[in-house]
Symmetry: C2
Subunit: 221 residues, 2 copies
DNA sequence: TGCATCCGATACATCTATGTATCGAAGCAG
DNA sequence: CTGCTTCGATACATAGATGTATCGGATGCA
């Protein structure tokens, strides 16, 4: 059903290609370029119209190619969508990593919360695409597995910081394990992001998230 | 673009119909039946395949009709989707109303939380359809307006209970207004529901929601 | 029961999307 | 520069979805 192999460069019509030594496809400069532009175009088109309503030609047109280029790089829209998600999710993860890099236990909780809140990728188009992908995953177990894998990676990135900064004893029952607590924080982040879909005003978003995290994490009121 | 008039019975080809007195269409028994079955079938098909990937014929086939029946009752899939959402959202609202009906301040907070948690409509198909609708709304301002309206109605249903049961002074800053607090509770509910999409195991869901609400609402730990 | 009306099935025309086969052109190796 | 490989455009064949016009049967009312 859905190709989950994913991030392979996937040269499609491998007629003769691939020189004997087992090294990758021979020509690669132009190919990488068009692949990139196809992904970028797909991002925009998916955000605007929704994955389900987008056709292959639409993506190609937005990228300045014809369908020939598409079929040379991907097998299906599903595959492109998957590659796009992996690319963007990786980007997001790197961003969070960077934002949390300098965290130290001395800063105190409010500073950490600020740090997290400011690391938020408040990009409505990304939320649109990501939610579309979530629905896609909800209907395709193999895609879901990849999505869950990525959520795990995100949790593992955030968890050490949470563990260092928060006193488990001060947390309510059920959230005393750093694992569960971190997961809850990420879930709340997701809920905040979802609010962007209906209310594009992002000035209200950061305070909302800050308030909720503060309410959840502050031992004293 | 999208007909938002919505819930009108909308007799399509109103050739001659509608007797002079201004009363509705004359024949109505069979019509109501097929409309209902079309909606029910659409619910299933949308949940399974996603709004964007569903065609009109698919809905009709699932309902046991042909496209003739569809075009006699709706103008477009968008219109049917809208009607479907209103129907189901109304149903959900009624359910919450009922669950909260007997709430009294004597019960105490844990009992209220249990009440809320148990009122949850843990229906994965409904979450699928609802999320699809959310995305649909995110891309169509008029649909978004209707969705926001419904969220308001939900908040107004829940708010009196929250106001009676919770001491604002015990809440963290930013959530002291019953309005904001109630909205946050509903948002958390939505986040919980979204978890159903990736992890269909609903036994884990209720505890998760209970823990989070408890953490948020309990003045003392 | 008879009749005027409406509902939904059928058939048709149109439009769009998909996938494949083929070919000229660009890119890289020697 | 030359020749070979690959990329991506073009053209074609096919499949599916949409909307409309029309018709027979069902339905409600007198």
């Amino acid at each position: 059903m859905v190709e989950v192999s994913g991030s392979a460069p996937s040269p499609r019509t491998q007629r003769a290609g691939q020189r004997p030594g087992g090294t990758g496809p021979r020509v690669t400069k132009r190919r990488a370029e068009t692949r990139e532009r196809l992904l970028a175009a797909a991002f925009g088109v998916f955000a605007e119209r929704g994955f389900g309503r987008v056709g292959i030609e639409e993506v190609c047109e937005a990228a300045g190619y014809t369908r020939g280029a598409f079929y040379s790089n991907f097998d299906s829209l599903d595959e492109l969508f998957f590659a796009l998600y992996e690319q963007q999710a990786g980007h997001t993860l790197a961003q969070v990593n960077e934002a949390l890099a300098g965290a130290s236990a001395d800063e105190g909780l409010p500073a950490l919360i600020d740090r997290v809140v400011n690391a938020l990728r408040i990009d409505r188009t990304w939320v649109l695409v990501r939610t579309d992908f979530l629905l896609h995953a909800a209907r395709n177990p193999e895609v879901a597995a990849a999505l869950i894998r990525h959520r795990e990676a995100m949790r593992e990135t955030v968890q050490p910081v949470v563990r260092d900064m928060i006193d488990p004893a001060a947390m309510p029952p059920g959230l005393r394990e750093p694992q569960a607590l971190t997961a809850a924080i990420i879930d709340i982040h997701d809920a905040a992001a979802a609010k962007l879909l209906l209310e594009p005003d992002l000035t209200a978003l950061r305070p909302w998230l800050r308030d909720l995290l503060t309410a959840l994490l502050s031992p004293s009121r």
